[in-house]
Amino acid sequence: MADLSHKAAKRASRVRWMLLAPALFILVIAASGPLLITLVYSFLTAGDYGGVEWGFSADAWFNVFMQRDIFDDTLSLSDAHLSIFWRSVKLSLITTLVCIFFGFPTAYFIATRRKEHRDLWMLLIMIPFWTNLVIRTFAIVELIRNEGTVNTILMSLGMIDEPLQILYTEFSIALGMVYVYLPLMVLPLYASMERLDFSLVEAGYDLYATRMKVLRRVIFPLVKPGVIAGSILVFVPSLGAYVTPRVMGGGNHLMIGNLIELQFGQGRNWPLGAALSITLLAIVMVALMAYVRAVGNEEVKHG
């Protein structure tokens, strides 16, 4: 009998792995496998015309943060790379905060509509999210470029004499990322606000709290997991953004994504590109672990 159930369990396990095999096969070829190869590439020597030569070298990792002076061979921190890393982190944080500023009231607004209407409002959030990233970026470029709608209107009204340079600045990159990633903030915020128990809010008012106090001391703590989830969903793609800074930064305001691409294009330094992308991945993993820890703590607290 024990033997029989053991056999059944063994059979179930075999069936399970057979069912998983196709998915895992594709994921190994086109997701986890390539990542491991990237890690290996970051320790190889750069080939003269792109690609690599098969010899160990730590140059790529060295060049991520340091540079060697071509005249006197002294070492210094790589200002160019550090400023790109700093810009990426800075713009991603700004994007996340602005998304919270707009996303929080929007999710709250939707969550407090009549039940029948909520899905319709959420649909309005989902439609831009399902619309092609290039199209959305292009739409906002049209709005703010020198010959674009905003400048044309302002000039025809006589408010300005020459077009405002909005496009190709750090501001326009942040604006573009807010526009593109805002739905990712609203989705999890709405999910946690929809379950908000308003009797707690009422209790707050009964105890003479002001609206601001209720917001800060009752509502915000209850939907904090949603805020954290939304922040991660916005911060992570912002940090790795490639299309938005390429189209809206005009080549002068690179972010990590563009720096990585450069190594595979004009830079022809594949190992450095590999090392940079592993670095980006490491930063993202740290952010995700901080998220898991923060959500874990919340769950313990509210038990």
Binding site: A31, P34, T106, F109, D119, V236, G257
Partner: protein, 268 residues
């Protein structure tokens, strides 16, 4: 204070205003984009009158035709592959006890959601460059495999959600009546699961159709899809032709998201 008549506990000062500004901000650029696709002039900021000319010129543009067909073929094969894999994987991982290697399997399935696209794109570039040199093959298969991989989690999630919400007793009843496991799947599980499968397939289709970063790095020369073609166009002088192509794609997205919402509402 709270007992005052007309005091709405749900109201927060300024929230409605910000929310409406937010919706306006989300839609204004898209509305303008769609509007200027009907412009009879060559400008995308000065309105000169209504015409279909940019739709006609986009329709007649051979590069656009090729890119459209390529995008659709790619999205079809990628969503088919990803959905098939996702159904099997969901059957294997839902409604079972915790098994050895479970967290590793989940980590692998969700990897495309967590790893930044640019990192995956570069990793695929490296691997596929090696394979291209070794085999000499440079067809569409690379893109199909790459797209299938990042579509798997998107197809997997709705299917798994559907499977978790399903009643086990029907399947047990069928098994008690001596149905083979395959018959149970074919006659009992599948008919209940199909809205989830369709939702997953549509999500995968749209995700594949929208992808630009991974495609940009993996594609061989002359393998532009619509998004990468448009990305290339943005560097040049833009005519409303790009708006016309965008409008069609926006219309497809709207249709898909509405259908997806309706599908996920079908009760068990």
């Amino acid at each position: 204070m709270a007992k005052n008549k007309g005091f709405n506990i749900r109201r927060q000062t300024g929230f409605t205003t910000i929310a409406l500004v937010c919706f306006g901000m989300l839609y204004l650029p898209i509305v303008l984009l769609v509007t200027y696709s009907f412009n009879s002039g060559t400008s995308i900021a000065i309105w000169e009158g209504f015409s279909w000319r940019w739709y006609q010129s986009a329709w007649a543009n051979e590069q656009v035709q090729e890119a459209t067909v390529r995008s659709l073929v790619l999205a079809f094969w990628a969503s088919l592959t990803a959905t098939t894999c996702a159904v099997l994987a969901a059957l294997a991982t839902t409604r079972t006890r915790k098994f050895k290697g479970q967290s590793a399997v989940f980590a692998m399935i969700n990897q495309p959601l967590m790893v930044p696209e640019i990192v995956t794109a570069v990793a695929l570039l490296i691997l596929f460059a090696m394979i291209k040199v070794a085999t000499g093959y440079s067809g569409l298969l690379y893109l199909v495999v790459a797209h299938s991989a990042f579509c798997i989690p998107f197809a997997y999630l709705p299917i798994r959600a559907r499977l978790q919400g399903m009643d086990l007793s029907l399947e047990q009843a069928a098994a008690d009546l001596y149905a083979t496991p395959f018959q149970v799947f074919r006659r009992v599980t599948l008919p209940q699961l199909w809205p989830g499968i369709l939702a997953g397939a549509m999500l995968a289709f749209v995700i594949s159709l929208d992808d630009v970063v991974i495609t940009e790095f993996v594609k061989s020369a002359g393998q532009d899809t619509l998004p990468t073609y448009m990305l290339g166009q943005l560097r040049r002088v833009i005519t409303p032709e790009v708006n016309a192509i965008s409008t069609v794609l926006v219309a497809i997205s709207v249709t898909m998201v509405v259908a997806f919402t309706l599908l996920s509402k079908i009760k068990n």
